[in-house]
């Protein structure tokens, strides 16, 4: 099975450790992961802001770059959602490829049938189910199943978990005040759990939440699910 990593633009530019973690997990499970260097942004930003043609060009490129792989994995439910849900409107042959594109937890639990990836992370963790992962990509409880099998990890429930964190891509730039109001509620929920780490499957939301937690001096870290799953007793 040829697996390609779609690292996403945020992963590439802001969170390279997340992409590396995805590779480490899959290699630990005996898979090889390729990284096609020609990949670009999926075009979600363009699409959401009305630049349909710009998005179509990126969709075309995505199909060209990833079309030959059996499976494409990304550490982002948001970008996977764009490929699966919106690409077919832009590029006709994207629908078939979309069925082989997975967010990491979906790939592990639903496709590979793995819930214990041999990880160790002795911390109190709460999990924020991001909007895209719940309602567009629909990863279900796959992330929770994976977290429950991590050695030493204490998983605590997040109140009002399905409330948006306020990021929303360019929404957070265009509507900063509303975005911050939403973030304030999310940070309060996270802090109320007493967790030292808040995890999610989207770097974009974690960027927003992490900023909020840090500015408030909470001492709580925002960390991608992949980085928790990549952690072992050795490292």
């Amino acid at each position: 099975m040829r697996i390609a990593l779609f690292v996403t633009c945020l992963g590439d530019t802001l969170f390279p450790e997340t992409g590396k973690a995805v590779v480490r997990i899959l290699e630990r499970l005996g898979h090889e992961v390729e990284f096609p260097a020609e990949q670009t942004c999926c075009g979600q930003m363009h699409l959401n802001n009305g630049y349909r043609e710009g998005a179509a060009a990126l969709a075309r490129r995505f199909v060209d770059v990833f079309g030959e792989y059996d499976v494409v994995v990304a550490p982002s439910s948001s970008c996977v959602g764009t490929v699966r849900e919106l690409y077919p409107q832009l590029v006709p042959d994207a629908a078939e490829l979309g069925e082989r594109v997975f967010e990491l937890s979906e790939l592990l639990v639903n496709e590979l049938g793995v819930e214990d990836v041999g990880a160790s992370f002795p911390h109190k963790v709460t999990y924020h189910p991001t909007c895209h992962s719940l309602r567009v990509t629909r990863v279900g409880d796959a992330p929770m199943r994976l977290l429950r099998n991590v050695r030493g990890l204490e998983l605590v429930e997040l109140p009002a978990a399905d409330e948006c964190c306020g990021f929303g891509g360019t929404f957070s730039v265009k509507n900063a005040d509303t975005s911050i109001a939403m973030l304030a509620d999310k940070c309060a929920s996270i802090v109320s759990t007493g967790a030292s780490v808040c995890s999610a499957v989207d770097g974009s939301c974690l960027l927003h939440i992490g900023g909020g937690l840090e500015r408030r001096g909470t001492g709580v870290r925002a960390l991608h699910l992949a980085e928790i799953l990549a952690s072992t007793e050795e490292a």
């Binding site: 979600q44 959401n48 948006c164 891509g169 360019t170 109001a181």
Partner: protein, 379 residues
């Protein structure tokens, strides 16, 4: 026009508003979830609602004419209004012909949409809002911020002070019963004196020419039965083909809107009945942009909306900013796809990120994919 981000900034700074919105929207959400869960055929009902609306929109030309004929046969006078100005002129004219200087109104988004009260005021006619929340807003020169709960942004103490300064006979506490009683005493006199009532409509039945309104307070029934002249303004998309179709919507709307199995008052009237109720019924069929929306293959789905307002209560933007930031009588997700189509994208202040909205699977009474349409419409 203030843009959405700037308007939102002002609203977000209002702690009272934030607290009220959170409490009210969470309460309604929980009530809705519990009554929706009682119905094993809820999704089938939503789908039936969608199918009926799709049929109405596909054959609206026929249904409108059928409605007009049935209403006329039952004794109503039917008027056609191309836009807000025409609709307002029709109402003003009716009031003038009866030499009426005050009309009693029931809560109606459609009349807010066309700014009927302002048009009446310009003609020297005062329009009294008789819905409790609408009355509060009118007495204070304020305007609605939620489709169902227009005064969601106000609290009891504010209302006590307002009533004490405007309509109350004596001292008041902020006990809700006392506040309601003050409004009741004030309104009862107005109802008994009123010579003309104005209403909107939840549904119009093409088959029979019947108008249907659902409400909680009973003030609407006063408006539609006591005055000798009644004017009902109906957006042309409000039709259902047959009386039996109400069965679907009268289940969907209260459960999705107020979270009740059935709303306290459901009023239906068909033309004029000698010796009973208004002896002169005028129905104004309002276009005001709806035909243009209907012509748009993607956008027309917004005309399926029956104003249940469930989408407002789950919207993370609406539940923080409230309705005023949207600068429209239709706020929240449904407003984001309806308002720009009715008045033009350039005139509608919007959060402006449909991709953001796409991530929320919104509850609503009628099965429509609001958010996919927001993306496709680019609003």
């Amino acid at each position: 026009m203030t843009n959405f981000p700037s308007a939102a900034r002002v609203e977000l700074a209002n702690g009272q508003l934030r607290a009220n919105l959170h409490h009210a929207t969470q309460t309604i959400r929980a009530k809705r979830a519990s009554v929706v869960a009682e119905l094993p055929d809820w999704e089938e009902l939503r789908e039936a609602g969608r199918a009926i609306k799709a049929d109405v929109l596909a054959r609206l030309d026929e249904y409108l004419v059928q409605f007009e004929r049935a209403a006329q046969t039952a004794g109503a006078q039917v008027h056609w209004a191309r836009d807000a100005a025409e609709a307002n002129a029709i109402v003003v004219d009716i009031a003038r012909r009866h030499d009426v200087s005050e009309v009693v109104k029931m809560k109606s988004l459609t009349t807010d949409e066309i700014h009927l009260n302002e048009a009446l005021a310009a003609a020297g006619i005062s329009a009294l809002e008789t819905d409790f929340a609408e009355l509060i807003l009118q007495l204070d020169g304020d305007w609605p911020s939620h489709i169902l709960v227009p005064a969601i942004h106000r609290n009891r103490t504010e209302i006590r002070d307002l009533f004490a300064r405007t309509i109350a006979d004596g001292p008041l506490t902020d006990d809700p019963r006392e506040l309601a009683e003050a409004a009741r005493v004030y309104l009862r006199e107005k109802f008994l004196d009123a010579r003309m009532g104005v209403s909107g409509a939840n549904f119009g039945v093409a088959e029979t020419g019947t108008i249907c309104i659902v409400e909680s307070e009973g003030n609407g029934r006063m408006c539609t039965t006591l005055p000798p002249v009644l004017v009902s303004i109906l957006g042309i998309e409000k039709l259902v083909p047959a009386f039996a179709d109400l069965e679907v919507f009268l289940q969907l709307l209260p459960r999705s809107s107020t979270g009740e199995r059935m709303n306290p008052y459901t009023s239906l009237w068909t033309g004029v009945t000698p010796g009973d109720g208004p002896q002169e019924l005028h129905i104004v069929l309002l276009d005001a942009g709806r035909t243009r929306v209907l012509a748009d293959e993607v956008g027309r789905v917004a005309l399926h909306c029956i104003r249940c307002s469930a989408c407002l209560n789950v919207c993370p933007v609406y539940t923080r900013t409230g309705g005023h930031a949207y600068g429209s009588v239709y706020p929240g997700p449904i407003g984001a796809i309806l308002t720009p189509q009715l008045i033009g994208v350039e005139n509608a202040p919007l959060p402006g990120d449909p991709g953001f909205a796409r991530r929320f699977a919104l509850p609503k009474a009628v099965a429509i994919n609001t958010l996919r349409h927001a993306v496709d419409l680019g609003v």
